[in-house]
Protein backbone atom coordinates (compact mmCIF):
# COMPACT_ATOMS: atom_id res chain seq x y z
CA UNK A 1 0.00 0.00 0.00
CA UNK A 2 2.85 2.38 0.89
CA UNK A 3 4.49 1.55 -2.40
CA UNK A 4 1.31 2.42 -4.24
CA UNK A 5 1.16 5.77 -2.50
CA UNK A 6 4.71 6.59 -3.56
CA UNK A 7 4.00 5.63 -7.14
CA UNK A 8 0.94 7.82 -7.13
CA UNK A 9 2.90 10.78 -5.80
CA UNK A 10 5.66 10.28 -8.35
CA UNK A 11 3.16 10.30 -11.19
CA UNK A 12 1.58 13.48 -9.90
CA UNK A 13 4.99 15.13 -9.71
CA UNK A 14 5.72 14.14 -13.29
CA UNK A 15 2.45 15.67 -14.39
CA UNK A 16 3.25 18.87 -12.52
CA UNK A 17 6.66 18.98 -14.14
CA UNK A 18 5.16 18.74 -17.59
CA UNK A 19 2.89 21.66 -16.79
CA UNK A 20 5.86 23.68 -15.59
CA UNK A 21 7.66 22.86 -18.82
CA UNK A 22 4.66 24.06 -20.80
CA UNK A 23 5.29 27.54 -19.45
CA UNK A 24 8.55 27.60 -21.38
CA UNK A 25 7.14 26.69 -24.75
CA UNK A 26 5.58 30.11 -25.16
CA UNK A 27 8.88 31.92 -24.85
CA UNK A 28 10.66 29.38 -27.03
CA UNK A 29 8.17 29.92 -29.82
CA UNK A 30 8.74 33.65 -29.87
CA UNK A 31 12.47 33.45 -30.39
CA UNK A 32 11.91 33.34 -34.10
CA UNK A 33 9.94 36.42 -35.11
CA UNK A 34 6.42 35.61 -36.21
CA UNK A 35 6.97 37.83 -39.23
CA UNK A 36 9.57 35.38 -40.53
CA UNK A 37 7.43 32.44 -39.59
CA UNK A 38 4.44 33.89 -41.43
CA UNK A 39 6.54 34.54 -44.53
CA UNK A 40 8.02 31.07 -44.44
CA UNK A 41 4.73 29.28 -44.01
CA UNK A 42 2.80 31.59 -46.29
CA UNK A 43 -0.06 31.97 -43.84
CA UNK A 44 -0.93 34.32 -41.00
CA UNK A 45 -3.09 32.85 -38.25
CA UNK A 46 -5.31 35.45 -36.63
CA UNK A 47 -7.14 34.90 -33.35
CA UNK A 48 -10.47 36.67 -33.02
CA UNK A 49 -13.85 36.40 -31.37
CA UNK A 50 -17.30 37.39 -32.50
CA UNK A 51 -18.17 40.98 -31.59
CA UNK A 52 -20.76 42.80 -33.65
CA UNK A 53 -19.74 44.65 -35.83
CA UNK A 54 -16.04 43.98 -35.31
CA UNK A 55 -16.17 40.39 -36.45
CA UNK A 56 -19.12 38.14 -37.17
CA UNK A 57 -20.30 35.49 -39.59
CA UNK A 58 -22.60 36.48 -42.42
CA UNK A 59 -25.46 34.46 -43.88
CA UNK A 60 -23.06 32.41 -45.95
CA UNK A 61 -20.91 31.50 -42.98
CA UNK A 62 -18.12 33.84 -44.08
CA UNK A 63 -16.45 36.11 -41.57
CA UNK A 64 -17.11 39.79 -42.05
CA UNK A 65 -16.57 42.92 -39.98
CA UNK A 66 -14.15 45.72 -39.24
CA UNK A 67 -11.43 43.46 -37.83
CA UNK A 68 -11.81 41.02 -40.66
CA UNK A 69 -11.25 43.75 -43.23
CA UNK A 70 -8.20 44.98 -41.32
CA UNK A 71 -6.72 41.49 -41.01
CA UNK A 72 -7.40 40.63 -44.65
CA UNK A 73 -5.71 43.83 -45.79
CA UNK A 74 -2.74 43.01 -43.56
CA UNK A 75 -2.42 39.54 -45.08
CA UNK A 76 -2.74 40.98 -48.56
CA UNK A 77 0.04 43.48 -47.88
CA UNK A 78 2.26 40.75 -46.49
CA UNK A 79 1.49 38.59 -49.49
CA UNK A 80 0.29 35.61 -47.47
CA UNK A 81 -2.89 33.64 -46.95
CA UNK A 82 -5.06 34.36 -43.96
CA UNK A 83 -6.56 31.95 -41.52
CA UNK A 84 -8.99 33.10 -38.85
CA UNK A 85 -9.16 31.15 -35.63
CA UNK A 86 -12.40 31.99 -33.81
CA UNK A 87 -11.65 31.66 -30.11
CA UNK A 88 -13.75 32.05 -26.98
CA UNK A 89 -12.91 35.49 -25.60
CA UNK A 90 -12.10 34.28 -22.09
CA UNK A 91 -9.37 31.98 -23.44
CA UNK A 92 -7.94 34.20 -26.15
CA UNK A 93 -4.82 35.42 -24.31
CA UNK A 94 -3.73 31.94 -23.10
CA UNK A 95 -4.26 30.71 -26.67
CA UNK A 96 -1.96 33.44 -28.00
CA UNK A 97 0.67 32.68 -25.35
CA UNK A 98 0.67 28.98 -26.20
CA UNK A 99 1.06 29.75 -29.90
CA UNK A 100 -2.34 28.67 -31.17
CA UNK A 101 -2.20 31.65 -33.53
CA UNK A 102 0.22 34.45 -34.42
CA UNK A 103 -1.66 37.60 -33.53
CA UNK A 104 -4.92 38.74 -31.96
CA UNK A 105 -6.78 41.15 -34.21
CA UNK A 106 -10.00 41.15 -32.27
CA UNK A 107 -10.87 44.61 -31.08
CA UNK A 108 -8.76 44.09 -27.99
CA UNK A 109 -8.52 47.19 -25.81
CA UNK A 110 -5.00 48.06 -24.67
CA UNK A 111 -5.02 47.88 -20.88
CA UNK A 112 -2.10 47.88 -18.42
CA UNK A 113 -3.09 44.47 -16.99
CA UNK A 114 -3.27 42.82 -20.38
CA UNK A 115 -0.06 44.53 -21.40
CA UNK A 116 1.79 42.68 -18.64
CA UNK A 117 1.02 39.45 -20.46
CA UNK A 118 1.22 40.43 -24.13
CA UNK A 119 2.71 43.14 -26.32
CA UNK A 120 0.38 45.57 -28.04
CA UNK A 121 0.92 47.48 -31.24
CA UNK A 122 0.03 51.14 -31.47
CA UNK A 123 -3.73 51.66 -31.64
CA UNK A 124 -5.40 51.18 -35.01
CA UNK A 125 -8.70 52.30 -33.63
CA UNK A 126 -10.30 53.92 -30.61
CA UNK A 127 -13.41 52.54 -29.07
CA UNK A 128 -15.51 53.55 -26.12
CA UNK A 129 -17.93 52.04 -23.70
CA UNK A 130 -21.58 52.75 -24.02
CA UNK A 131 -24.75 51.67 -22.24
CA UNK A 132 -28.08 50.36 -23.37
CA UNK A 133 -30.78 50.29 -20.70
CA UNK A 134 -34.22 48.86 -20.14
CA UNK A 135 -36.94 51.50 -20.40
CA UNK A 136 -39.06 50.32 -17.50
CA UNK A 137 -36.32 49.25 -15.10
CA UNK A 138 -34.03 52.22 -15.68
CA UNK A 139 -36.77 54.77 -16.09
CA UNK A 140 -35.43 58.32 -15.82
CA UNK A 141 -31.77 57.32 -15.62
CA UNK A 142 -29.69 59.74 -17.62
CA UNK A 143 -26.26 59.92 -15.94
CA UNK A 144 -23.68 57.32 -15.12
CA UNK A 145 -24.25 58.07 -11.41
CA UNK A 146 -27.84 56.92 -11.76
CA UNK A 147 -26.56 53.42 -12.43
CA UNK A 148 -24.10 53.45 -9.55
CA UNK A 149 -26.54 52.20 -6.93
CA UNK A 150 -26.80 49.04 -4.91
CA UNK A 151 -30.14 48.00 -6.36
CA UNK A 152 -28.97 48.33 -9.96
CA UNK A 153 -27.79 45.28 -11.93
CA UNK A 154 -25.50 45.64 -14.92
CA UNK A 155 -24.67 42.90 -17.42
CA UNK A 156 -21.45 42.65 -19.45
CA UNK A 157 -19.33 40.14 -21.32
CA UNK A 158 -16.80 38.33 -19.15
CA UNK A 159 -13.16 39.39 -19.37
CA UNK A 160 -13.79 42.41 -21.55
CA UNK A 161 -12.93 46.05 -20.95
CA UNK A 162 -16.70 46.50 -20.64
CA UNK A 163 -16.53 44.47 -17.43
CA UNK A 164 -13.69 46.65 -16.13
CA UNK A 165 -15.50 49.84 -17.07
CA UNK A 166 -18.64 48.66 -15.32
CA UNK A 167 -16.68 47.87 -12.16
CA UNK A 168 -14.87 51.19 -12.26
CA UNK A 169 -17.75 53.52 -13.03
CA UNK A 170 -20.50 51.62 -11.23
CA UNK A 171 -18.74 50.04 -8.24
CA UNK A 172 -21.91 49.90 -6.16
CA UNK A 173 -24.02 48.18 -8.79
CA UNK A 174 -24.20 44.41 -9.05
CA UNK A 175 -22.39 43.12 -12.12
CA UNK A 176 -23.62 40.02 -13.95
CA UNK A 177 -21.16 38.44 -16.35
CA UNK A 178 -21.83 36.36 -19.45
CA UNK A 179 -19.65 34.42 -21.82
CA UNK A 180 -21.25 36.08 -24.84
CA UNK A 181 -22.79 39.41 -25.55
CA UNK A 182 -25.99 37.87 -26.88
CA UNK A 183 -26.66 36.33 -23.46
CA UNK A 184 -26.16 39.68 -21.73
CA UNK A 185 -28.51 41.37 -24.16
CA UNK A 186 -31.06 38.60 -23.72
CA UNK A 187 -31.01 39.27 -20.00
CA UNK A 188 -31.64 42.93 -20.70
CA UNK A 189 -34.52 42.21 -23.08
CA UNK A 190 -36.13 40.09 -20.38
CA UNK A 191 -35.81 43.01 -17.97
CA UNK A 192 -33.65 41.13 -15.46
CA UNK A 193 -30.88 43.72 -15.55
CA UNK A 194 -31.02 47.49 -15.74
CA UNK A 195 -28.42 47.93 -18.46
CA UNK A 196 -25.72 46.29 -20.56
CA UNK A 197 -22.28 47.83 -20.89
CA UNK A 198 -20.51 47.19 -24.17
CA UNK A 199 -18.21 48.72 -26.76
CA UNK A 200 -19.81 51.29 -29.03
CA UNK A 201 -21.64 51.10 -31.38
CA UNK A 202 -23.39 47.88 -30.38
CA UNK A 203 -25.56 49.38 -27.57
CA UNK A 204 -26.96 52.02 -29.92
CA UNK A 205 -27.69 49.43 -32.61
CA UNK A 206 -29.40 47.20 -30.12
CA UNK A 207 -31.56 50.03 -28.78
CA UNK A 208 -32.61 50.86 -32.33
CA UNK A 209 -33.71 47.28 -32.81
CA UNK A 210 -36.06 47.33 -29.80
CA UNK A 211 -37.15 50.97 -29.61
CA UNK A 212 -40.23 50.22 -27.49
CA UNK A 213 -38.25 48.38 -24.81
CA UNK A 214 -34.75 49.79 -24.64
CA UNK A 215 -33.04 53.15 -24.74
CA UNK A 216 -29.58 54.71 -24.66
CA UNK A 217 -29.33 56.78 -21.47
CA UNK A 218 -25.92 58.42 -22.09
CA UNK A 219 -25.51 60.52 -25.18
CA UNK A 220 -21.76 59.95 -25.34
CA UNK A 221 -19.44 57.05 -24.65
CA UNK A 222 -18.21 57.13 -21.08
CA UNK A 223 -14.72 55.80 -21.79
CA UNK A 224 -12.31 56.05 -24.65
CA UNK A 225 -9.92 53.20 -25.16
CA UNK A 226 -7.20 52.37 -27.65
CA UNK A 227 -7.48 49.14 -29.65
CA UNK A 228 -4.36 47.30 -30.79
CA UNK A 229 -3.08 43.99 -32.17
CA UNK A 230 -1.76 41.70 -29.45
CA UNK A 231 1.28 39.49 -29.96
CA UNK A 232 3.53 37.40 -27.75
CA UNK A 233 6.02 39.34 -25.67
CA UNK A 234 9.51 40.10 -26.86
CA UNK A 235 8.91 40.03 -30.61
CA UNK A 236 10.15 43.52 -31.53
CA UNK A 237 10.41 42.67 -35.19
CA UNK A 238 6.72 41.97 -35.38
CA UNK A 239 5.87 45.02 -33.26
CA UNK A 240 7.87 47.22 -35.60
CA UNK A 241 6.25 45.73 -38.69
CA UNK A 242 2.70 45.96 -37.38
CA UNK A 243 3.18 49.48 -35.98
CA UNK A 244 4.39 50.78 -39.30
CA UNK A 245 1.66 48.97 -41.15
CA UNK A 246 -0.92 50.64 -38.90
CA UNK A 247 0.76 54.02 -39.36
CA UNK A 248 0.50 53.54 -43.11
CA UNK A 249 -3.13 52.54 -42.95
CA UNK A 250 -3.93 55.59 -40.83
CA UNK A 251 -2.31 57.91 -43.34
CA UNK A 252 -3.89 56.18 -46.33
CA UNK A 253 -7.32 56.63 -44.78
CA UNK A 254 -8.03 52.89 -45.00
CA UNK A 255 -8.90 52.55 -41.31
CA UNK A 256 -11.12 55.61 -41.33
CA UNK A 257 -12.99 54.40 -44.38
CA UNK A 258 -13.60 50.95 -42.88
CA UNK A 259 -14.62 52.43 -39.56
CA UNK A 260 -17.23 54.62 -41.23
CA UNK A 261 -18.63 51.63 -43.07
CA UNK A 262 -18.88 49.27 -40.09
CA UNK A 263 -19.55 51.63 -37.20
CA UNK A 264 -21.48 54.53 -38.60
CA UNK A 265 -23.61 52.89 -41.22
CA UNK A 266 -25.85 49.85 -41.11
CA UNK A 267 -25.37 48.89 -44.74
CA UNK A 268 -23.85 45.60 -43.66
CA UNK A 269 -26.85 44.46 -41.67
CA UNK A 270 -28.55 42.71 -44.60
CA UNK A 271 -25.44 40.54 -44.92
CA UNK A 272 -25.96 39.03 -41.48
CA UNK A 273 -29.67 38.35 -41.22
Amino acid sequence: MKKLCYMFLATLLLFGYSIALAGDTGSQLSRESIIEKIQKEGVIRVGMSTFVPWAMKDKKGQLIGFEIDVAKKLAQDMGVEIEFIPTAWSGIIPALLTGKFDVIIGGMGITPTRNLKVNFTMPYDFSGMSLVAHQKKANGFSKIEDFNKKEVTIAARMGTTAEQAARKFMPKAEIKLFENESQALQELNLGRVHAVVSSAPMPVFHALKYPDKLFVPLKENFTKEPIGFAIQKGDYDALNYFNNWILNMHSQGFLKEKKTYWFESKKWESLVK
Binding site: L4, M7, F8, T11, S18, I19, L21, A22, T25, G26, E41, V43, R45, T50, F51, V52, M56, K57, K59, K60, G61, E83, F84, I85, P86, T87, A88, G91, P94, A95, T98, G99, K100, E179, N180, E181, S182, Q183, L185, Q186, N189, L190, H206, Y210, K213, V272, K273
Partner: protein, 283 residues
Protein backbone atom coordinates in the same frame (compact mmCIF):
# COMPACT_ATOMS: atom_id res chain seq x y z
CA UNK B 1 -54.13 4.77 -16.59
CA UNK B 2 -51.87 5.21 -19.59
CA UNK B 3 -54.32 7.67 -20.98
CA UNK B 4 -54.28 9.69 -17.78
CA UNK B 5 -50.50 9.79 -17.71
CA UNK B 6 -50.31 10.96 -21.31
CA UNK B 7 -52.93 13.59 -20.62
CA UNK B 8 -51.03 14.94 -17.61
CA UNK B 9 -47.82 15.15 -19.60
CA UNK B 10 -49.57 17.12 -22.35
CA UNK B 11 -51.12 19.49 -19.80
CA UNK B 12 -47.75 20.05 -18.14
CA UNK B 13 -46.02 20.75 -21.43
CA UNK B 14 -48.67 23.16 -22.67
CA UNK B 15 -48.68 24.92 -19.30
CA UNK B 16 -44.90 25.32 -19.53
CA UNK B 17 -45.08 26.82 -23.00
CA UNK B 18 -47.96 29.14 -22.20
CA UNK B 19 -46.08 30.38 -19.11
CA UNK B 20 -42.96 30.82 -21.17
CA UNK B 21 -44.91 32.79 -23.77
CA UNK B 22 -46.22 35.21 -21.16
CA UNK B 23 -43.03 35.65 -19.13
CA UNK B 24 -40.73 35.86 -22.10
CA UNK B 25 -41.39 38.80 -24.32
CA UNK B 26 -39.36 37.48 -27.16
CA UNK B 27 -39.52 38.25 -30.82
CA UNK B 28 -39.29 34.82 -32.44
CA UNK B 29 -37.59 34.82 -35.82
CA UNK B 30 -37.53 31.24 -36.98
CA UNK B 31 -37.46 32.11 -40.66
CA UNK B 32 -33.73 32.79 -40.81
CA UNK B 33 -32.74 29.47 -39.17
CA UNK B 34 -32.91 27.19 -42.27
CA UNK B 35 -30.41 29.49 -43.98
CA UNK B 36 -27.83 28.59 -41.34
CA UNK B 37 -28.04 24.95 -42.38
CA UNK B 38 -27.79 25.51 -46.10
CA UNK B 39 -28.01 28.43 -48.42
CA UNK B 40 -28.19 28.91 -52.13
CA UNK B 41 -25.49 31.05 -53.62
CA UNK B 42 -27.36 33.72 -55.57
CA UNK B 43 -24.58 34.05 -58.14
CA UNK B 44 -23.77 30.44 -58.96
CA UNK B 45 -27.06 28.85 -57.98
CA UNK B 46 -25.25 26.14 -56.00
CA UNK B 47 -26.17 25.02 -52.53
CA UNK B 48 -23.58 25.34 -49.77
CA UNK B 49 -23.60 23.95 -46.26
CA UNK B 50 -23.63 26.62 -43.61
CA UNK B 51 -22.42 26.90 -40.02
CA UNK B 52 -24.95 24.72 -38.22
CA UNK B 53 -24.56 21.81 -40.63
CA UNK B 54 -20.77 22.13 -40.62
CA UNK B 55 -20.86 22.15 -36.83
CA UNK B 56 -23.14 19.13 -36.84
CA UNK B 57 -20.70 17.15 -38.98
CA UNK B 58 -17.79 18.26 -36.82
CA UNK B 59 -19.62 16.96 -33.76
CA UNK B 60 -20.17 13.63 -35.52
CA UNK B 61 -16.51 13.36 -36.52
CA UNK B 62 -15.39 14.34 -33.04
CA UNK B 63 -17.72 11.80 -31.41
CA UNK B 64 -16.70 8.95 -33.70
CA UNK B 65 -12.98 9.51 -33.15
CA UNK B 66 -13.32 10.07 -29.42
CA UNK B 67 -15.54 7.01 -29.03
CA UNK B 68 -13.18 4.83 -31.08
CA UNK B 69 -10.02 5.85 -29.26
CA UNK B 70 -11.80 5.98 -25.90
CA UNK B 71 -13.14 2.47 -26.46
CA UNK B 72 -9.67 1.19 -27.23
CA UNK B 73 -8.15 2.92 -24.20
CA UNK B 74 -11.00 1.87 -21.96
CA UNK B 75 -10.88 -1.76 -23.05
CA UNK B 76 -7.14 -2.02 -22.48
CA UNK B 77 -7.37 -0.28 -19.12
CA UNK B 78 -10.43 -2.33 -18.16
CA UNK B 79 -8.68 -5.60 -18.99
CA UNK B 80 -5.64 -4.49 -17.03
CA UNK B 81 -7.81 -3.46 -14.11
CA UNK B 82 -9.71 -6.75 -14.01
CA UNK B 83 -7.08 -9.40 -14.67
CA UNK B 84 -3.70 -7.67 -14.82
CA UNK B 85 -0.67 -7.85 -12.55
CA UNK B 86 -0.48 -5.53 -9.57
CA UNK B 87 1.37 -2.83 -11.54
CA UNK B 88 -1.12 -3.05 -14.38
CA UNK B 89 -3.97 -2.82 -11.94
CA UNK B 90 -2.33 0.19 -10.33
CA UNK B 91 -1.93 1.97 -13.69
CA UNK B 92 -5.54 1.27 -14.56
CA UNK B 93 -6.77 2.55 -11.18
CA UNK B 94 -4.58 5.64 -11.36
CA UNK B 95 -5.96 6.46 -14.80
CA UNK B 96 -9.58 5.90 -13.86
CA UNK B 97 -9.47 7.66 -10.51
CA UNK B 98 -7.56 10.68 -11.80
CA UNK B 99 -9.81 11.25 -14.77
CA UNK B 100 -13.06 10.54 -12.98
CA UNK B 101 -12.20 13.02 -10.25
CA UNK B 102 -11.35 15.90 -12.55
CA UNK B 103 -14.18 17.94 -14.07
CA UNK B 104 -14.25 17.29 -17.81
CA UNK B 105 -14.05 21.00 -18.54
CA UNK B 106 -10.83 21.35 -16.56
CA UNK B 107 -9.34 18.29 -18.23
CA UNK B 108 -10.04 19.64 -21.71
CA UNK B 109 -8.57 23.05 -20.91
CA UNK B 110 -5.49 21.65 -19.16
CA UNK B 111 -4.89 19.25 -21.99
CA UNK B 112 -5.27 21.89 -24.66
CA UNK B 113 -3.09 24.58 -23.13
CA UNK B 114 -0.42 22.49 -21.46
CA UNK B 115 -0.09 18.99 -22.78
CA UNK B 116 -0.98 19.59 -26.40
CA UNK B 117 1.07 22.80 -26.59
CA UNK B 118 4.13 20.77 -25.72
CA UNK B 119 3.63 17.59 -27.65
CA UNK B 120 1.02 17.91 -30.36
CA UNK B 121 1.87 21.41 -31.52
CA UNK B 122 5.52 20.58 -31.91
CA UNK B 123 4.53 17.91 -34.43
CA UNK B 124 3.27 20.78 -36.61
CA UNK B 125 0.43 18.76 -38.10
CA UNK B 126 -1.06 21.89 -39.63
CA UNK B 127 2.12 22.68 -41.56
CA UNK B 128 2.41 19.12 -42.75
CA UNK B 129 -1.20 19.09 -43.92
CA UNK B 130 -0.88 22.43 -45.69
CA UNK B 131 1.94 21.04 -47.79
CA UNK B 132 -0.06 18.04 -48.97
CA UNK B 133 -2.01 17.87 -52.23
CA UNK B 134 -5.47 19.41 -52.49
CA UNK B 135 -7.13 16.01 -52.80
CA UNK B 136 -5.46 14.66 -49.69
CA UNK B 137 -6.39 17.81 -47.78
CA UNK B 138 -9.98 17.27 -48.85
CA UNK B 139 -9.95 13.70 -47.58
CA UNK B 140 -8.41 14.77 -44.29
CA UNK B 141 -10.96 17.53 -43.96
CA UNK B 142 -13.68 14.93 -44.41
CA UNK B 143 -12.36 12.48 -41.84
CA UNK B 144 -10.51 14.82 -39.46
CA UNK B 145 -10.22 18.58 -39.95
CA UNK B 146 -8.71 21.18 -42.25
CA UNK B 147 -5.21 22.60 -41.69
CA UNK B 148 -6.46 25.54 -39.65
CA UNK B 149 -8.26 23.33 -37.19
CA UNK B 150 -6.29 20.13 -37.08
CA UNK B 151 -4.08 20.86 -34.05
CA UNK B 152 -7.00 21.86 -31.88
CA UNK B 153 -9.17 19.08 -33.26
CA UNK B 154 -6.66 16.34 -32.54
CA UNK B 155 -6.10 17.59 -29.01
CA UNK B 156 -9.86 17.75 -28.44
CA UNK B 157 -10.28 14.19 -29.72
CA UNK B 158 -7.54 12.90 -27.45
CA UNK B 159 -8.78 14.79 -24.38
CA UNK B 160 -12.31 13.55 -24.95
CA UNK B 161 -11.10 10.00 -25.61
CA UNK B 162 -9.07 9.98 -22.39
CA UNK B 163 -12.09 11.22 -20.51
CA UNK B 164 -14.53 8.70 -21.95
CA UNK B 165 -11.94 5.92 -21.75
CA UNK B 166 -11.92 6.13 -17.96
CA UNK B 167 -15.65 5.44 -17.77
CA UNK B 168 -15.48 2.73 -20.42
CA UNK B 169 -12.63 1.15 -18.45
CA UNK B 170 -14.87 0.78 -15.41
CA UNK B 171 -17.69 -0.68 -17.49
CA UNK B 172 -15.39 -3.22 -19.15
CA UNK B 173 -13.75 -4.13 -15.84
CA UNK B 174 -17.16 -4.73 -14.29
CA UNK B 175 -18.16 -6.86 -17.29
CA UNK B 176 -15.08 -9.06 -17.05
CA UNK B 177 -15.39 -9.47 -13.29
CA UNK B 178 -19.03 -10.34 -13.75
CA UNK B 179 -18.20 -13.51 -15.68
CA UNK B 180 -18.41 -16.36 -13.16
CA UNK B 181 -15.24 -18.24 -12.20
CA UNK B 182 -16.89 -21.43 -13.49
CA UNK B 183 -16.49 -20.22 -17.06
CA UNK B 184 -12.72 -19.97 -16.59
CA UNK B 185 -12.48 -23.35 -14.97
CA UNK B 186 -14.66 -24.96 -17.61
CA UNK B 187 -12.56 -23.70 -20.45
CA UNK B 188 -9.28 -24.64 -18.72
CA UNK B 189 -10.60 -28.14 -18.30
CA UNK B 190 -11.23 -28.17 -22.07
CA UNK B 191 -7.52 -27.45 -22.52
CA UNK B 192 -7.62 -23.76 -23.45
CA UNK B 193 -4.71 -21.64 -22.30
CA UNK B 194 -5.24 -18.62 -20.05
CA UNK B 195 -4.95 -15.95 -22.79
CA UNK B 196 -7.18 -17.98 -25.11
CA UNK B 197 -9.80 -18.39 -22.42
CA UNK B 198 -9.75 -14.67 -21.86
CA UNK B 199 -10.02 -13.70 -25.51
CA UNK B 200 -12.39 -16.41 -26.74
CA UNK B 201 -14.59 -17.14 -23.75
CA UNK B 202 -14.59 -14.33 -21.23
CA UNK B 203 -14.25 -11.16 -23.33
CA UNK B 204 -17.09 -11.87 -25.79
CA UNK B 205 -19.45 -12.65 -22.94
CA UNK B 206 -18.31 -9.59 -21.01
CA UNK B 207 -19.00 -7.30 -23.97
CA UNK B 208 -22.47 -8.75 -24.39
CA UNK B 209 -23.23 -8.06 -20.76
CA UNK B 210 -22.08 -4.47 -20.89
CA UNK B 211 -23.58 -3.57 -24.26
CA UNK B 212 -26.20 -1.31 -22.72
CA UNK B 213 -23.98 0.68 -20.37
CA UNK B 214 -21.47 1.00 -23.22
CA UNK B 215 -24.14 2.38 -25.51
CA UNK B 216 -25.03 4.85 -22.79
CA UNK B 217 -21.41 5.93 -22.61
CA UNK B 218 -21.26 6.41 -26.39
CA UNK B 219 -24.32 8.62 -26.17
CA UNK B 220 -22.73 10.65 -23.42
CA UNK B 221 -19.66 11.10 -25.58
CA UNK B 222 -21.80 12.92 -28.12
CA UNK B 223 -23.21 15.16 -25.43
CA UNK B 224 -19.85 15.67 -23.71
CA UNK B 225 -18.34 16.74 -27.02
CA UNK B 226 -20.06 20.09 -26.43
CA UNK B 227 -17.47 20.97 -23.78
CA UNK B 228 -14.70 21.22 -26.33
CA UNK B 229 -16.36 24.43 -27.51
CA UNK B 230 -14.30 26.08 -24.74
CA UNK B 231 -11.13 25.40 -26.69
CA UNK B 232 -12.80 26.80 -29.78
CA UNK B 233 -13.36 23.62 -31.76
CA UNK B 234 -15.89 24.53 -34.43
CA UNK B 235 -18.43 21.95 -33.35
CA UNK B 236 -22.16 22.35 -33.03
CA UNK B 237 -22.25 24.23 -29.72
CA UNK B 238 -19.43 26.57 -30.69
CA UNK B 239 -20.96 27.34 -34.07
CA UNK B 240 -24.28 27.97 -32.36
CA UNK B 241 -22.70 30.35 -29.85
CA UNK B 242 -20.91 32.19 -32.64
CA UNK B 243 -24.19 32.51 -34.51
CA UNK B 244 -25.94 33.78 -31.41
CA UNK B 245 -23.22 36.35 -30.88
CA UNK B 246 -23.68 37.57 -34.44
CA UNK B 247 -27.45 37.40 -34.80
CA UNK B 248 -28.82 37.56 -31.21
CA UNK B 249 -31.33 34.81 -32.06
CA UNK B 250 -30.58 33.15 -28.72
CA UNK B 251 -33.49 30.80 -28.21
CA UNK B 252 -34.10 29.80 -31.81
CA UNK B 253 -30.52 28.64 -32.10
CA UNK B 254 -30.33 26.87 -28.74
CA UNK B 255 -33.54 24.98 -29.53
CA UNK B 256 -32.25 24.03 -32.98
CA UNK B 257 -28.99 22.79 -31.50
CA UNK B 258 -30.85 20.76 -28.89
CA UNK B 259 -32.87 19.09 -31.62
CA UNK B 260 -29.74 18.29 -33.59
CA UNK B 261 -28.10 16.66 -30.56
CA UNK B 262 -31.30 14.78 -29.91
CA UNK B 263 -31.39 13.45 -33.48
CA UNK B 264 -27.83 12.16 -33.05
CA UNK B 265 -28.23 10.58 -29.64
CA UNK B 266 -31.69 9.17 -30.21
CA UNK B 267 -30.78 7.50 -33.49
CA UNK B 268 -27.69 6.05 -31.84
CA UNK B 269 -29.63 4.66 -28.90
CA UNK B 270 -32.26 3.14 -31.24
CA UNK B 271 -29.67 1.50 -33.46
CA UNK B 272 -27.83 0.18 -30.40
CA UNK B 273 -31.08 -1.36 -29.16
CA UNK B 274 -31.58 -2.92 -32.59
CA UNK B 275 -28.09 -4.42 -32.65
CA UNK B 276 -28.58 -5.70 -29.11
CA UNK B 277 -31.79 -7.44 -30.16
CA UNK B 278 -30.19 -8.98 -33.23
CA UNK B 279 -27.21 -10.14 -31.20
CA UNK B 280 -29.37 -11.80 -28.59
CA UNK B 281 -31.20 -13.71 -31.32
CA UNK B 282 -27.93 -15.06 -32.66
CA UNK B 283 -27.25 -17.15 -29.60
Amino acid sequence: MDFLAAFMVIVAISFFFSRMGSVLTYDWQWESIPGYFMFKDAETGQFHTNMLLIGFFTTIRLSIWATGIGFLLGTISGMMGAKGSITQRFISRLYVETIRNIPSLVLVILFYYFVSSQFLDSLRLDLWLRNQSQGFQGVMEFILAGPGQINAFVSAVIALAIYEGAYISEIVRGGINGIPQGQWEASWSLGLSRPKTFLLVVLPQAFRQVAFPLAGQFISTIKDSAIVSVISIQELTFQGMELMAATFLTFEIWITITLLYFILTFSLSRSMAFIEKKASQMY
